[in-house]
Symmetry: C2
Subunit: 450 residues, 2 copies
């Protein structure tokens, strides 16, 4: 029987096992941690993820989308909170289009179930990868409980072991001419759990992703199933007026929230008390190449870890699965050919999702508070509403289609230049209020400006 | 007694031990390899290095420059060899200024002698660093002969263990927020030993660095003491008309040299036979930050490995020693303060020497064959000859002064713009032949253009 080893029972590794099972592989998954499903996970310990089109596509391909539908909460737009507590709403796309808030821990538990149920995978927990023979398809492990060492040898190895991939660090990085960089951005994040009301209801609209944009930093909130919100404060570690190193005491934290996020503070006056209970974490972009060597290949964060600002880290990892699936059929499981084609196709996509993620940080923390930016988005949405086949805004291309990230990124840059130019030539705001905007859009399309 | 551990008995580690001894430290050096001095080193196995002003400065500071004077061969300029075998000579600087060819193996042996003699250092050979406790100043080693593990604990630890530093890889890289990149250029190199004539004399002028510039690639030759030259072919690995992957057989190699380096081929018709005896090697730039953590600090290539095209890799490592020496006195051996200041001062210099090295590759393989470039250099040299205090060309700032690399680099960029502009306004070649160049330079200085 054909055999495969997957390193990492995270989101990508678990999903990929289902694909491999479908192709008739016996799959072993080695996972460094203990079984997440047996642990007590409080929502506040789980970072939230935004599931979007590429994720759904990867799930639908193997028919398991039903497995996560009930834990995915649709968010139809962004709700911005200004200093005075005023709200502005911006839909993400067209009517009915949404991205979906899921808890990382919850979706990971589901995915492990799915891996065992549909992937017929055996998950070996507490097995830490301590080395790999890339060419011969061997993963060396040591059990973190017993200290016992073991080897997993198979026809093919998939390293889906995350941003700090052991396979990459212990084997790939030692290859001659392996290009590698780990770049930490100067901002970190701290998570805060905003609890539900006593009756279990939500303290904020649960169909939005909430943002408190403050220029150089921001707070966001994503809904959980239980009425709570997982909130994240992204901010520089140091060297700025507002930075984590300035929030050293309960009083500092309280003053900061009262002044900077007054409406949030009202919802959560206990913020100063719970502040220290979640650690401050860093954010990195990891780039490397090649992604494959011998019988071993990197997937997901192990290949292209990104910062979380486009909500595409998980989705791009899932997309690795759909692409690899197509290629393994196209090349009839000739793995060297599959891997070569996979890394050539996916490396530019990994780069693009990283560039998009960094760009979107500036959008989220700053531009979404800018009336000009909001007007531009409104204008773009109107164009799309009228001529959905002719114009798809960048965010929609990334979140609601399977257009390659690199293509979307290039399209987006051209669109941005074009729309900004039109906005200097016409008073778009006035045209909206005079109800003449549709006429303009029609004319621009006729003249082939758009 | 104050104690220090140095990881790596290479050039920088050995030199630094002398400095530490001078300050009263008991020094242990752990070295992964066996004692180089007991091995039989043929000149052809030793890459050649160019020793220049910063190196001399670092040696003079501790009074050991005499120790290497007899193995350093002055090269006063570049001799370019064109396709027809014509030679062009370009002095590196003013009368008497030279860079010095030294064999890596030979200087390393001398430096180990120096470390033991003046540094009172104990060099522990065959001790491979397998980990480090950065904060507590502990280096964990395993003997490659006996397998025995040991620990070296000291007040302070200096990791001078090269581009693939074990301390950096095994400890620093695991630190949160450690910025790191290893970037391989698309070119590799292969060394060739051009033997002396039978009577021991040199086959080429021994007071030059020889270059066969060929646009996308180049061959260089540096003299050895015994009449031979260590030659290096730098070329793309693949994907180019001329690339290493195209030189697969003896016949390919011979045809290539006959056609591309005909005068070299005449001197060394056996090239096809010896080709395979030296391995093809890759070239990387390693950038990282921070350089220091707790009681441990990176020096030389471990902190800022570069490609060899400015001949400044070794010199910049030696300069790390002179700078660290000044700082340890300035801050009275308050090591946390010394380290902080050292990394802040030296990181921009490491970046600059890397940028300079990459830029100079284009200069060496291409521009030095361009009459316009040679005329520009001649013009700059003349300005310097007439007004040595007012104008120092970039190459001279880097190789014949201790001006910080970053300052030299910025100066160089400004100079280049200025000189190129003057050269579009005046026919410099004609002015040289009409003997009016000095007049022009004088006028330009009067008008404060220069």
């Amino acid at each position: 029987m054909k055999s495969a080893t997957i390193v990492g029972a995270g989101l990508v590794g678990s999903l990929w096992s289902v694909y491999l099972a479908k192709a008739g592989y016996k799959v072993n998954i080695v996972e460094m941690r203990s079984d997440l499903r047996e642990a007590d996970i409080s929502a506040g310990k789980s970072i939230n993820l935004a599931f979007s089109e590429r994720g759904w596509t990867a799930f639908k391909t193997v028919g398991i989308e039903k497995e996560i539908e009930d834990i995915a909460l649709p968010m139809y737009g962004r709700t911005m909170h200004d200093l005075a507590g005023n709200l502005t709403y911006q839909p993400y796309g067209q009517e009915g289009q949404a991205i979906y808030s899921v808890s990382r821990a919850e979706i990971n538990c589901r995915m492990m179930d799915v891996a065992e149920k549909y992937g017929d995978a055996t998950i070996h927990f507490n097995e830490k990868c301590i080395g790999a023979d890339l060419e011969n398809g061997i993963v060396y492990c040591q059990n973190t409980q017993t200290g016992k060492r073991s080897e997993f040898k198979s026809d093919v190895v998939f390293a889906a072991d995350g941003a700090f991939s052991a396979v990459r660090y212990r084997a790939m990085q030692k290859l001659d001419r392996f290009q590698y960089s780990q770049h930490y951005i100067e901002d970190g994040y701290r998570e805060i759990l905003l609890p539900a009301n006593e009756d279990g209801s939500y303290k904020l609209s649960k169909t939005s992703l909430h943002i408190w944009p403050r220029g150089r930093f921001m707070l966001i909130a994503l809904p959980n199933e239980d009425g709570s919100f997982t909130c994240t404060l992204f901010m520089p570690f140091e060297n700025h007026e507002y930075a984590f190193d300035k929030l050293k005491s309960k009083a500092h934290v309280e003053d900061f929230f009262k002044k900077i996020f007054p409406d949030f503070y009202e919802l959560m006056p206990e913020i100063g008390t719970v502040w220290e209970s979640h650690p401050l974490s860093s954010l990195a972009i990891v780039r490397c190449y090649p992604w494959a060597h011998g019988k071993t290949v990197l997937m997901g964060d192990a290949a292209h870890a990104t910062v979380p600002f486009y909500g595409q880290g998980m989705n791009s990892g899932f997309e690795d699965c759909s692409v690899l699936w197509i290629l393994m059929q196209q090349y009839d499981e000739d793995w060297p050919a599959v891997f070569e084609q996979y890394q050539r196709m996916r490396k530019p996509e990994g780069n693009a999702v990283q560039d998009l993620s960094l760009d979107n940080y500036y959008v989220m923390r700053d531009y979404v508070a800018d009336p000009k930016f909001l007007l531009q988005k409104k204008f773009e949405r109107r164009i799309q509403q009228l001529y959905p086949e002719k114009y798809i805004p960048l965010y929609s291309q990334v979140s609601f289609t399977n257009t390659p990230y690199s293509v979307a990124y290039e399209n987006g840059k051209k669109q941005d230049v074009l729309i900004k130019k039109i906005m200097t030539e016409y008073d778009i705001e006035a045209l909206f209020s005079e109800d003449k905007i549709d006429r303009l859009i029609h004319d621009l399309l006729e003249k082939e400006v758009l």
